[in-house]
């Protein structure tokens, strides 16, 4: 899931002030931002209270099922069309994908209420870790299911770097070195060393990404 954190409140205030907004409609997200406790119903209510405390009118709010889904968000926007129409701005508590989907679904100015951080694993409720960078060229087959591109702070395919000490990472000193972990797990599974991995092919993730599996048009 996409991990987000609340955007600095001053920036939100500045954004709204920049268009002289007096009234706001708030949209959360029922998927990632709900699990991340940044854009579910609880957080939307908190933000609404905060805006009201500033003297702004909250014309309404909703937590759509999947805010990055264009069809669903358009439907959600139509459902709340009156409240959105009555607002000067829409504040979105979702990832950047969700914010853009809302911006494509309404005519009012849309502002982000969160910062998007990474694709995260849910380790426990409220504890998220980045394990996949979505590089388009998975090496987990060779690295015993541990991604060096993501979990080595330098993203080295071939490591460890010179800073590894007693098996620990140079940068995140309380963590075991990714490359030491990979080697141990390969050994435990009686697999050969991973060998030297070739430089990554960054053309696999040229921006902006796009996929079309409907049999017409191109995938990038």
């Amino acid at each position: 899931m996409i991990i987000t954190r609340p955007r600095d409140w001053e920036r939100i205030e500045d954004n709204l002030a920049s268009i002289g907004a007096r009234s706001v409609f708030i949209m959360g997200c029922g998927q990632c931002a709900t699990v991340a406790h940044t854009g579910g119903e609880t957080e939307v209510a908190e933000v609404a209270a905060r805006l009201e405390a500033l003297g702004l009118e909250v014309t309404g709010w909703t937590v759509g099922e999947v805010t990055c889904h264009l069809g669903g968000t358009k439907l959600e926007s139509r459902k709340h069309g009156g409240d959105i129409e009555a607002a000067d701005a829409v504040l979105v508590l979702a990832c950047g994908a969700g914010v853009q989907t809302v911006a494509d679904s309404v005519t009012k100015p849309v502002f982000p209420g969160l910062e998007s951080l990474f694709l995260g694993n849910v380790i426990r409720n409220g504890i998220f870790e980045e394990r996949c960078l979505m590089c388009g060229e998975c090496v987990l087959d060779k690295t015993a299911g541990i991604c060096p591109v993501t979990t080595c702070p330098k993203g080295l395919l071939n490591g460890p770097c010179g800073g590894m000490w007693e098996g620990m990472c140079e940068v995140l000193t309380d963590r075991e070195c990714t490359h030491v972990r990979i080697r141990r797990r390969l050994t435990e599974q009686h697999r050969a060393g991973k060998g030297t991995l070739a430089p990554k092919d960054f053309s696999k993730t040229l921006k902006p990404g796009g996929v079309n599996i409907r049999g017409h048009g191109d995938s990038r």
Partner: protein, 288 residues
């Protein structure tokens, strides 16, 4: 022809030192350091934005060292440049007469004076070594021919004291396979571990130049233990310097003992005087 390569192939014991390019355009202090070290060294490493902090480029500084009549070892880290820039700088280095290159990963930007920088790490040091070898064979990393090949003597870093050893050894072997012909090690404190490394790597045809730090003061020891990644001064050695009446003098005696022992184990010594540059001649002279 790289004199460093010639000497190492001939089985001669080599001495390398290190100079740091300045933070700024004034190279007076660097030149002074070169003048102090050059009479005692066969080649001088020129660091590349050491400590992930801004310094004059290793490429230009290496050329200054060469012009002063001593062979530089041009250091190239993977932190600040992508594959196009790294290859382009390798070609530039060769065109400037720099024949030795030491490829290293580089410290993370978070450790340096530009902590907001993007760490590039488009390549790692093994991949970069392989690319340098490819350039020696006359092609770029895309296997396309170069108008004029290089003939670099390719080196890399290694850390005989960092455990787990099997991981270190596998890594060094990988680098050799990529084209690395000499290693310069992190500072050595435990000679049995240096021996273990030399014995493992020599059969592959790689030369090992062992690092020696001149631990001139208790403050330097604290700095190393707290700030330098992948390095710890053992208690016995730290206590020896801390309890000495004259720590700098004791550090010189200690370094002399270490160099003497390294002469019997490794192919060379890489001396890091940490400011005691003027003592390098004494350390080397008294160790032979």
């Amino acid at each position: 022809m790289s004199r460093l390569r010639d000497m190492l192939s001939a089985g001669e014991f080599v001495v390398t030192g290190e100079v740091a390019p300045p933070k700024g355009a004034d190279v007076t202090a660097m030149r002074a350091a070169v003048e102090l070290l050059a009479p005692h060294c066969h080649a001088l490493n020129v660091t590349d934005n050491q400590g992930a902090s801004l310094h004059l480029a290793s490429l230009a500084a290496s050329r200054i060292v060469l012009d002063m009549g001593i062979e530089p070892i041009f250091q190239q880290t993977c932190r600040d440049r992508n594959r196009l820039a790294l290859q382009s700088d390798l070609l530039a280095a060769w065109s400037l007469g720099l024949e030795n290159v030491l490829v290293v990963t580089g410290d993370d930007p978070r450790a340096g004076d530009h902590p907001n920088a993007k760490g590039v790490f488009d390549l790692d040091s093994t991949q970069l070594a392989e690319i340098a070898r490819g350039m020696n064979e006359g092609h770029d990393m895309m296997d396309r021919p170069l108008a004029g090949a290089t003939d670099f003597f390719i080196g890399a870093a290694m850390f005989p004291e960092a455990e787990p050893w099997d991981v270190q050894l596998a890594r060094a072997e990988q680098k050799i396979e990529a084209g690395v012909r000499f290693f310069q090690t992190q500072a050595i404190f435990d000679m049995t571990r240096l021996k273990r490394a030399v014995e493992a790597l020599r059969p592959h045809g790689a030369k090992v130049i062992a690092g020696v730090l001149v631990l001139k003061s208790p403050r330097v020891i604290d700095f190393i233990n707290e700030r330098l990644a992948g390095l710890m001064v053992p208690d016995a050695i730290a206590d020896r310097i801390r309890s000495a009446d004259d720590p700098a003098e004791e550090a010189i005696v200690l370094a002399t003992e270490q160099v003497r022992e390294i002469r019997t184990i490794a192919d060379g010594v890489h001396i890091m005087p940490l400011g005691l540059d003027a003592a390098v001649g004494r350390i080397l002279g008294n160790s032979s």
